[in-house]
C-alpha cells in the first residue's frame, strides 16, 4: 500500500475518476427502458433493468464525494497539484512494474491468440524469469528492450496481416518466427552474461523451467483434461504425432 500522503493523493484522483464513472453508469442506465415495453414486458420503474445500475451509480457518486472530501481535508489535493508542477524520476520499482505489464499484455493479447501455445509459454517464461531473476538493472533493461524491439516488429507483421499471407505458403510460418526469436533471445542472454558464473548457473535453471513447464502443462491440459489449447500450432502438432502414433 502507498504511504499516507501518496494514499490521500491517490484518493483525490480516484474519487474524481469514480465520480465520473458513477455519472457514466447513471447516464447509461437512463437509456434503459423505464416505462416503455421491452421484450413484450410493460416496464415500470421497479421492474426496469435500469433500477440496479441506478442504485450502483448513485452509491458510487455519493461514496466518491465522501472520499473526495476526506482526501481534500487530509491534503491529498495539495500533494497532487504540488507533484504535478515538479517532475519525477522513474524508480526501479515502477520500471519493474511496467516491464511486467508489457510482458503480460503482449503475451495475452498478441502471442497467445496467434502463436502455438507451447511457444507462447516458453517465450513468456524465458523473458519474464530472465529479466527478474538475474536481478541486475543493466541486464533487465537490455533484455527488455530486445524483447520490445522484436515484439514491435511482430506487432507490425500482425497489424498488416502479413502473417496470414505468409502462413498460406508455410502453415507454421509465425511459429517458426517465434522459435527463431526464442533462439536469438537465448543467444543474446548468453552473450550478456558470458563471464559471470553465477548468472550462467541461473540461466541454466531459467532454460530448464521455461521449457519443462509447458512440456508438462500442455499435455496435461490437452490429453488428460481434454481442454483444447488457445492456439495449436507446430509444436502441439508434434505432440499429437507422438501421442497418437507412438504412445
Amino acid at each position: 500500500m502507498y504511504e499516507e500522503k501518496q494514499l490521500r493523493k491517490a484518493d483525490f484522483i480516484t474519487s474524481i475518476i469514480l465520480m465520473v464513472f458513477g455519472i457514466w453508469i447513471i447516464l447509461m442506465a437512463s437509456r434503459m427502458p423505464m416505462k416503455a415495453t421491452y421484450g413484450g414486458v410493460q416496464n415500470t420503474w421497479y421492474v426496469s433493468p435500469a433500477l440496479f445500475p441506478l442504485i450502483i451509480g448513485s452509491a458510487i457518486i455519493i461514496l466518491s464525494i465522501l472520499l473526495l472530501i476526506h482526501s481534500t481535508k487530509a491534503g491529498g489535493a495539495k500533494t497532487f497539484f504540488r507533484e504535478m508542477a515538479s517532475g519525477g524520476i522513474i524508480s526501479e520499482k515502477s520500471l519493474r512494474f511496467w516491464i511486467m505489464i508489457v510482458l503480460f499484455i503482449s503475451t495475452v493479447y498478441l502471442y497467445i491468440p496467434r502463436i502455438d501455445f507451447f511457444l507462447s509459454v516458453v517465450l513468456f517464461l524465458l523473458v519474464f524469469i530472465s529479466i527478474f531473476y538475474f536481478d541486475e538493472i543493466r541486464l533487465m533493461i537490455r533484455l527488455f528492450l530486445f524483447y520490445v524491439a522484436i515484439t514491435i516488429l511482430l506487432l507490425l507483421l500482425f497489424i498488416f496481416r502479413l502473417d496470414t499471407i505468409l502462413n498460406r505458403s508455410f502453415v507454421y510460418f509465425t511459429d517458426s518466427i517465434i522459435l527463431i526469436f526464442i533462439i536469438f533471445f537465448i543467444i543474446y542472454c548468453r552473450i550478456l552474461i558470458k563471464k559471470n558464473r553465477q548468472l550462467i548457473q541461473k540461466f541454466r535453471l531459467i532454460l530448464l523451467v521455461s521449457f519443462s513447464t509447458p512440456l508438462i502443462l500442455c499435455p496435461v491440459f490437452k490429453y488428460l483434461l481434454l481442454v483444447p489449447l488457445p492456439k495449436e500450432g507446430g509444436i502441439i502438432y508434434l505432440f499429437n504425432i507422438i501421442r497418437y502414433s507412438l504412445l
Partner: protein, 514 residues
Amino acid sequence: MNVIHQFTLFFQQLGILGTHPVTYFILFPSVVMGIIFGAMPGLTATLGVALLTTVTYGMSTGMAMVSLLAIYVGAVYGGSYASILINIPGTAAAAATAIDGYPLALKGEGGRALGLTTTASAIGTIIGMLFVLALSPLISALALQFTSFEFFLLAFFGILISGTLTTPDLVIKGWIAGFIGLFLAAIGRDHLQFYPRFTFGISQLDSGIDVVPVLIGAFGIPQIIQVIKDKITVGEAKKFKRVFPEFKTIIRHGPDILRSALIGVGIGAVPGIGEDIAAWVSYGVAKNSSKHPETFGKGEYAAVISTETANNACVGGAQIPLYNLGIPGSPPAAMLLGALLIHGIQPGPLITFDHPTFIPQVVAILFLSSIAMWVSGMLLVKQVIKILRIPPPVFMPIIAVLCIIGSYSLGARIFNLFLMLPVGIIAYFLTEMGYPVAPLVIGVILGPMADENLRRALMVSKGSFLPIFTRPVSLILFILILTIMLSQTKMYKKLKGYIIHRFFKDKKHTGGND
C-alpha cells in the same frame, strides 16, 4: 431433515468416500498442493481453489469437491509454515500466527510450534465441520421462510460487512469496492427481461462476466506483480527438529481451542470476511482472557493454538451460509460457489431437497481433509519448506502461466483470458490504493442475487418497500445495514464514546470506592 438424520448421512458418506481408493489419490495431492499454496507468500487459498476449479472441471462433483476442499483446508493451514519459520505469513490468515510462532522458532521450538499448529488446525476444521452439519438443517428451514426482500437485504448486508471489516484503510473504500463488484455483476443481459446492460454490442458479454477469471485475475495478478515489484524474498527458514503432535499441550489448552473454534465458526458464517479476521479476533480474545497477557508476542503456545484453530474453524463456518443461503462466508468460499455453479449445484435453501446428501458429503470431505492435512503436516513439513527456497522470480511466472491457462480453460474461451488481465491490473491498483479485493469479489458473486431479488420483491409489493419493515428478518437486516452505515459517522462515534464513558468507566470508579 433433522440433525440426527444429518449425522447418519454423514457417516454413510464417510464410509462411501473413505472406502473409495480414488478419494485418497485426489485428497492427499490436493492437501499438499494447498499446503504449498498456503506456505508460499504471494499465493492464497482463493487462488489455489480457483486454479484447481479449472482442473477439476471434468471430474464428478464429488471428486471435484474432494480436491477443492482439500486444497482450501491445506492452504489455510499451510500459511503457518512461513509464519513460524520465516516470520513472513504465507497467507493473511496466518499473519497472527507469526507474532508468537516466530519467537518460538527463534527459541529452537519451531518443530513444537508446527506440531501445535498442525493439530490445532485439524481440530479447528473438525469443529467447524460439526457446525456445518448441525446448523445446516436449522438455517435451511429458516431460509425457506425467506422471500425476495430478505435475500436482497442479505446480499447487501454481506457486501457492506465485507467492505467494513476487510478494508485496510477507509471503510468507504471497502464499500466502493463492493459497488464496483456489483457493477461488474450487472454487465450482461439481465435475467428478468434479458435486456443487454453495458455490453457495448460485444456478444461475449451477453452472458455476463464469468466469476472464475475475475477471481483468478483479482487474486493472482496483484500478488504476482507485488512480489516481483517489491522483490519480496523468502528468508532462510529457521532449523527445527521433528514435528510432534503435542497432544498434551493441546489438551491443556482445551478451553482456548473451544473458544477459538467458536470464534472461527462465527466469523466464517458472516458473509465476506475470512480466515484472517477470525485469526486476529481469536488472538485478541485469547490475549485478553489470558492470566499472563504479557507473554503474548514472546512465544506463547495459547496464541499459536488460538489463531490456527480459529482460521481453520472458519473454513467450516464460511460454508454454512454458502450452502444454505448461497452467500459465501469468505473469499475462498466465494470461489467454491463458482465451482458449485459450474458443476450444476445451486446452493440455497433448496439444496437439502435437490441434493439431500450434498452437505453430509461435504462434511465428510472436510473430515477426511483435516486428517489428510494432519498426516501431511506431520510427515512432509521439511519437504514443503524446501519448496519455499524456490526464488520468487522463478516461481511467480509459473503461477502467472497457471492463471493464464486457468482463466482460459473453463469453457475454452479466450475472451475470459482477455478479461482476466485488465481485472487483475485494476485489482492491483485498487490494492495499492487501500481498497480491499474481497468485497469486490463478493459483489460480483452476490450481484445477480441482489438485483433479481430486489426487482422480484418490488414486483410482488407493487413498488412498495413497506414489507422490509413488516417482516421481522427483513427489519433486523435493515437495522443491521443502517447500523453499519451510521457507525462510520462522527455522531455515532461520539455517542459510542459517551455511552462507554458514562456507563462503563463510571462503573469502574464506583466499584473502586466500595
